[in-house]
C-alpha cells in the first residue's frame, strides 16, 4: 500500500534534508524493521487483534504516564487511559492514516482529558502517584529514597507548570512528538507549541538547578 507508506513517513520526510525528486526510496529500509504503527492500526481495522496487541504494547506505558503526569489522580488516569483506548478500538474501521499514529493516539487522549475537565469542572491539579504504580520494587532502599526525592521534585516542578506547557512537555517526552505534531494534538499553531515547550523546559531546568544547589 504505497499511499500508507508515504503518509507514515510524512514527518520523517519533513524532518529530513531536502532530496532531489525520486530519492524518497532512500527511506524505504525503515519499513523493513517492524510494521509501522499505521499499518498495524489498519490491520487491526481489518480484524487482526494481534496487530492491535503489538500496537498497544508500543504505546501503553507512555500513554499511561501522559495521563498520570498531566494532572490526573491514578484512578482518573486509569479511567481516561481506558476511555482513550476504547475510542481507538471503536474507531478502528474508520481510521484513515492522515497523520502519524502517535499524533492520532495523543490527540484522542488529549481530548479525553479536556472532556474530563469539562465534565468535572474541578480539575485536580496535583498528580498523586501511589507507591504500587512505581516500578522500583527491586531497587535498594537508599537508591529508592533518592529516586523518590528526584521524582517528587520533578513532579512538583511539573505541577507548577501551566497546563498547556505541561501538556506540550509531556507530548514531547512521552509521545516523542515534534512541534508540528504537538500543535496538531493541542489545536494550537506551531509557534504557540514552540513557545510552550520552550518555557516548560526552561522552568523545569531552573527547578532542577535549584534542587541541585540546595543539596
Amino acid at each position: 500500500m504505497p499511499t500508507i507508506e508515504l503518509v507514515t513517513h510524512d514527518s520523517a520526510l519533513n524532518a529530513a534534508p531536502a532530496l532531489p525528486d525520486g530519492d524518497a526510496v532512500s527511506y524505504a529500509p525503515t519499513m523493513t524493521a517492524a510494521p509501522e504503527d499505521t499499518a498495524l492500526m489498519l490491520r487491526f481495522g481489518e480484524g487482526d487483534s494481534q496487530a492491535f496487541e503489538e500496537l498497544y504494547r508500543r504505546h501503553n506505558d507512555a500513554l499511561y504516564r501522559y495521563f498520570l503526569r498531566l494532572g490526573s489522580d491514578p484512578a482518573t488516569a486509569e479511567d481516561l487511559y481506558q476511555e482513550a483506548w476504547s475510542k481507538i478500538i471503536r474507531a478502528r474501521a474508520s481510521y484513515r492514516p492522515t497523520a502519524k499514529f502517535t499524533t492520532y493516539l495523543y490527540r484522542v487522549a488529549h481530548n479525553c482529558f479536556i472532556d474530563n475537565i469539562r465534565r468535572n469542572k474541578r480539575h485536580r491539579h496535583t498528580a498523586q502517584i501511589e507507591p504500587d504504580t512505581q516500578a522500583a520494587d527491586c531497587v535498594p532502599p537508599e537508591a529508592a529514597a533518592e529516586t523518590g526525592l528526584a521524582r517528587r521534585r520533578l513532579e512538583r516542578a511539573l505541577e507548577d507548570l501551566p497546563f498547556e506547557q505541561r501538556d506540550a512537555f509531556l507530548l514531547h517526552e512521552e509521545a516523542g512528538l515534534g512541534l508540528d505534531d504537538i500543535a496538531r494534538v493541542t489545536g494550537a499553531n506551531r509557534e504557540a507549541a514552540k513557545s510552550r515547550l520552550r518555557y516548560a523546559v526552561k522552568k523545569l531546568r531552573a527547578a532542577l538547578d535549584d534542587a541541585e544547589d540546595s543539596k
Partner: protein, 165 residues
C-alpha cells in the same frame, strides 16, 4: 527524544531527569481489560463477514448488468429486422382507419376520451370542460363507491331484472 530546534544541549538534562523518574507502568489488570475489549471487538466484527459479502455483491451487480445488457441488445435486433408480413398488416390497418375517420368518431378519439367521462351516470347533463378535466384526475374506482355513481349498465348488471316465465 526528537531533534527539534527548540532543544539546546543543556535541555537534555531535563529530559534525562524526567526519563530517570518516569518509569510507571500500566497495571496489568488494565492491560488485560483493554486487550480483551479489542479481541471482543474484532470477534464481533468478524461475525458480520463484510469482507466476504462485498466482492459477492459486486459480482452479482456486474452479472445482473451484463444480463440486462444482453437482453436489451437482443430485443433491439428484433426491432431492427421486423417481419415483412407484419409491416403489410400494419399498412392495411392504417388505410382502414383513414376511411373510418370521415364522419365517424374514430377509435383514437374514443381512446383519448377520459375514462371518468365514460363512467358518468346516465341521464345527467354533459360535463363541462373543467368538470371533465377534474374527473379525469379521479381514479375510476373512486366513482364506483355507491349506487349514485353507477351507470345504467352497471346498475343492470348488479340488479338484473327478473326473468318472466
Amino acid at each position: 527524544m526528537s531533534n527539534d530546534d527548540t532543544r539546546s544541549p543543556s535541555d537534555n538534562s531535563v529530559s534525562d531527569a524526567y526519563r530517570a523518574v518516569a518509569d510507571e507502568r500500566v497495571p496489568e489488570a488494565l492491560d488485560k481489560r483493554i486487550l480483551t475489549e479489542a479481541r471482543q471487538a474484532t470477534a464481533a466484527g468478524k461475525g458480520r463477514r463484510w469482507p466476504m459479502f462485498r466482492p459477492l455483491a459486486w459480482a452479482a451487480t456486474i452479472g445482473l448488468s451484463l444480463a440486462l445488457l444482453l437482453e436489451y441488445s437482443q430485443t433491439g435486433l428484433d426491432i431492427a429486422a421486423p417481419d415483412p408480413a407484419a409491416l403489410e398488416r400494419a399498412a392495411n390497418l392504417e388505410a382502414l382507419r383513414g376511411h373510418a375517420a370521415d364522419g365517424v368518431e374514430t377509435d383514437r378519439q374514443l381512446d383519448d376520451a377520459p375514462a371518468a367521462v365514460v363512467l358518468k351516470p346516465a341521464g345527467s347533463t354533459p360535463a363541462t370542460k373543467s368538470e371533465e378535466h377534474t374527473l379525469a384526475r379521479v381514479e375510476p374506482r373512486d366513482l364506483m363507491c355507491g349506487p349514485a355513481g353507477r351507470t345504467e349498465l352497471q346498475e343492470a348488471e348488479l340488479n338484473p331484472a327478473p326473468v318472466a316465465e
